[in-house]
């Protein structure tokens, strides 16, 4: 195995051992199980504690941490997310009379994983698979609010696009505090969107849901969301989160 790093291999072996021993292990037991020197084992275990993959209990025994188990869950499968969200996305579209999207963060933007047409039976195109600029839509702002501002240039799409990093940071702080995001004319002129976060077990944001449509339909002349829209979006987001196992979304 060219280029393999011995200490990482040993760390991996320790993690596997730990995962198989829910009650935890002392340093000596762990070292014996893997045929390693006690000092080496201790060093690796301290490092794993440092990154949060291993915990030490009051009795001094080491065990795999909850964070480690969460690693896999963090990447909720996008198809799984859609499958769990369909009913509530439909209900939101029906309730508001607007189109609904669900999105996750991806390389270079926001990936649309589900799309419900505006319920007026007009011709509409499926937007699943489209990638939207995160800083210029409500879905993106909700997702960025939980991960931090993106690096790199903030592209201008309209005169209302937020292109200053500081302004974006402020906007994201507001989104975090109020629990929803709004975009008016920031990506496509004449279009607005309102989004809220979808959370997984443990509260991790795994996606966002929005309603989007014509500016006049979504906001009043002073650019405030029309009555009922924000609660409807947040209600749908909470219902999906509840189905995903989030306790108090």
């Amino acid at each position: 195995m060219p280029g393999s790093i011995q200490s990482i291999e040993r760390a991996a072996a320790l993690l596997k051992l730990m995962a198989r021993t829910p009650g935890g292990l002392g340093v000596v037991d762990a070292a014996n199980a893997l045929g390693l020197a006690k000092g080496t084992t201790h060093g690796i275990l301290r490092t794993l504690v440092g990154v949060g993959f291993v915990e030490q209990d009051p009795a001094g025994r080491y065990r795999a941490s909850a964070t480690l188990a969460d690693l896999a869950e963090a990447g909720l499968d996008a198809n799984e997310l859609r499958s769990r969200a369909v009913n509530w996305a439909d209900s939101l579209a029906s309730r508001t009379g607007e189109a609904v999207r669900i999105a996750t963060l991806t390389e270079g933007g926001v990936l649309v994983v589900h799309h419900v047409f505006r319920p007026d039976d007009s011709q509409q195109e499926m937007e699943v698979g489209d990638v939207l600029p995160a800083h210029a839509c409500a879905l993106g702002k909700v997702l960025l609010a939980s991960t931090g501002t993106p690096r790199g240039h903030l592209v201008r799409y309209t005169s209302r696009t937020i292109t200053q990093p500081l302004a974006l940071r402020r906007a994201l702080t507001a989104v975090r505090e109020q629990g929803w995001a709004l975009d008016v004319d920031e990506h496509v002129p004449g279009q607005a969107s309102i989004a809220a976060p979808v959370r997984d077990r443990g509260g991790l944001v795994v996606g966002a849901i929005d309603v989007h449509g014509a500016v006049d339909d979504l906001v009043d002349p002073r650019l405030r969301p029309r009555a009922g829209l924000v609660p409807a979006v947040r209600h749908a987001a909470r219902a999906i989160s509840r189905d995903l196992g989030a306790e108090s979304a």
Partner: protein, 510 residues
């Protein structure tokens, strides 16, 4: 369409409770007057496979699910018993339950529609020249799929049971009968009824008279005392004595007929395909009984109390979603059903691999009970991604088979396909269905159409909704997939699929 909550059209208060008792799980969904889903609870029940080809459920476990799910859904919506305007039931069809009238306990396990234990019995009856005689009366081919032979099998196999059945000590029903009887009091005054759509799947009901057919009862050796009374699909059968005491139980339909109703396919020519454990294409044929010459079933679509019945042609596919579950549970290729799409997208195409899941033989349009599943075209190139794709394509090609049969019987070409059910959240699958049919595929705003149909029927029966037109106006397009496959490719893949299907035939030799 109302816009925004604040400007919502003045609606009617209350909710309709729909119970969707399915093959793998039971759901309870509350709908408001606008036909919107306001609460949903769901619970799986155990599948018992005591022998190859046998599939059983515990009807008592299913009843316990209903007892829990309905109050939980009501709590989710903040609804009390007074808010429930009616209860509608949709159920897995053909699954056969026998229970003790006095104790209210099931007699043995329920025998599920996928179960093939009656194959010898069915062959014997066919040897008697039964098939043609029977299809004339009940619209169904002789197959292990239906509940009549299952009932006969149970009465034959269990010592003393026939005797008790003749004396009315033991009752028969499909799942909706069981649930209505339990809800209305069980041993203490329970109402023993079935609806025409469920009865039309027994092989015991005459399609013309919509009553038990004496000749069929004689042929299946079934005593009339064991049978429920056949009622319409939308009327008040009784009031609940438990779970939601006082609520009117106002509809029952087989799940596929409920989905047809939920898709508002009320007019002749309207059709839908529901993608769940199996998949079922149904086309409303109106007041006429239409006979298929291409392997479809004739069945009752619905009957509203006081009106004549509407009939339907049906293409039943036994294994679609259950194949995905098999990939998950038996092969461990995926850990959840939706992940099959992620896995399938790791490859560009099927790599030359075809998967025909004839696990319970093949249903429509082949009706080959001796067929068994095959995976063909395997080479060392094939990965699990290709298998996932082949599994999804199997659902698409089986849809094409039943659509072609429907086109041939009706003399029309399906212009677009209305779809619903759990598998419609799979975009790759829905695109593939559009590709192989060369027709747009359309999903409505409520994909829980089974529940919606049961709710619509119950709501109509109690006057919560006024008429079919008002329901039709509530149908809206939520998604559409357009065909995007080259004609040459469609043709050559179709030929490969048909060749793969031929390789399943004749595997079980009697």
């Amino acid at each position: 369409m109302s816009r925004g909550q604040a400007t919502q059209a003045p609606g009617r208060d209350g909710f309709v409770v729909a119970i969707d008792q399915g093959t793998t799980s039971t759901r309870c969904i509350l709908f408001d007057h606008d036909g919107r889903l306001v609460a949903v609870t769901q619970r799986e029940h155990r599948q018992h496979y005591p022998r190859p080809g046998w599939v059983e459920h515990d009807a008592a476990e299913i009843w316990r699910s209903v007892e829990r799910l309905v109050p939980a859904a009501m709590a989710q919506a903040g609804a009390g018993p007074d808010d429930v305007v009616a209860i509608g039931i949709a159920n897995q069809r053909e699954t056969t339950v026998l229970w003790d009238r006095r104790t209210g306990e099931p007699v043995g396990r329920a025998v599920v529609w996928q179960d093939t234990r009656t194959s010898d019995l069915v062959d014997e009856m066919a040897a008697d020249g039964g098939a043609e005689k029977y299809v004339e009366r009940c619209g169904l081919p002789l197959a292990t799929y239906f509940s009549g032979p299952r009932l006969r099998w149970l009465l034959d196999a269990t010592p003393g049971l026939r005797w008790r059945a003749e004396r009315g000590e033991v009752l028969f029903g499909t799942i909706e009968s069981w649930l209505v009887w339990k809800l209305t009091g069980g041993p203490d005054g329970g109402v023993h009824v079935t609806d025409v759509t469920n009865a039309s799947r027994t092989m015991l009901m005459n399609l013309q008279t919509l009553d038990w057919d004496p000749a069929m009862l004689a042929a299946m050796d079934v005593p009339e005392a064991v049978l429920p009374e056949i009622r319409s699909s939308a009327e008040v059968y009784g009031r609940a004595r438990t779970v939601v005491p006082g609520a009117r139980i106002a509809a029952a339909l087989g799940d596929q007929q409920a989905a047809l109703f939920g898709q508002t396919c009320f007019s002749p020519g309207d059709a839908k395909c529901t993608y769940g454990t199996g998949s079922f294409l149904l086309m409303n044929t109106g007041r006429e009984i239409t006979r298929s010459s291409h392997g479809l079933l004739t069945t009752v679509a619905h009957r509203i109390d006081g009106e004549p019945a509407s009939y339907a042609l049906e293409g039943s596919i036994a294994v679609t979603g259950s194949l995905i579950q098999w990939l998950r549970d038996n092969l461990g290729l995926i850990s959840t059903a939706p992940e099959v799409e992620t896995l399938a997208r790791t490859v560009e195409d099927n790599g030359g691999c075809y998967f025909v899941p004839a696990f319970s033989g093949l249903f429509a349009p082949h009706w080959r009970s001796e067929a068994r599943g095959v995976i063909v075209g395997l080479t060392s190139y094939i990965t699990k991604g290709h298998l996932a794709r082949a599994a999804l394509e199997a659902t698409a090609w089986q849809t094409r088979e039943v659509v072609e049969a429907m086109d041939a019987d009706s003399g029309l070409r399906l212009a677009s396909l209305r779809v619903d059910g759990g598998m419609t959240s799979n975009n790759l699958l829905m695109q593939t269905v559009a590709d192989v049919l060369d027709a747009p595929v359309v999903r409505p705003m409520v994909s829980e159409t089974v529940s919606l149909g049961a709710a619509y029927a119950a709501g109509l029966a109690v006057g919560f909704w006024s008429d079919l037109d008002s329901l039709r106006r509530r149908w809206h397009r939520a998604a559409q997939w357009r065909p995007a496959m080259e004609p040459e490719q469609r043709q050559s893949e179709w030929e490969n699929w048909q060749e793969a299907v031929r390789r399943t035939f004749g595997w079980i030799r009697h």
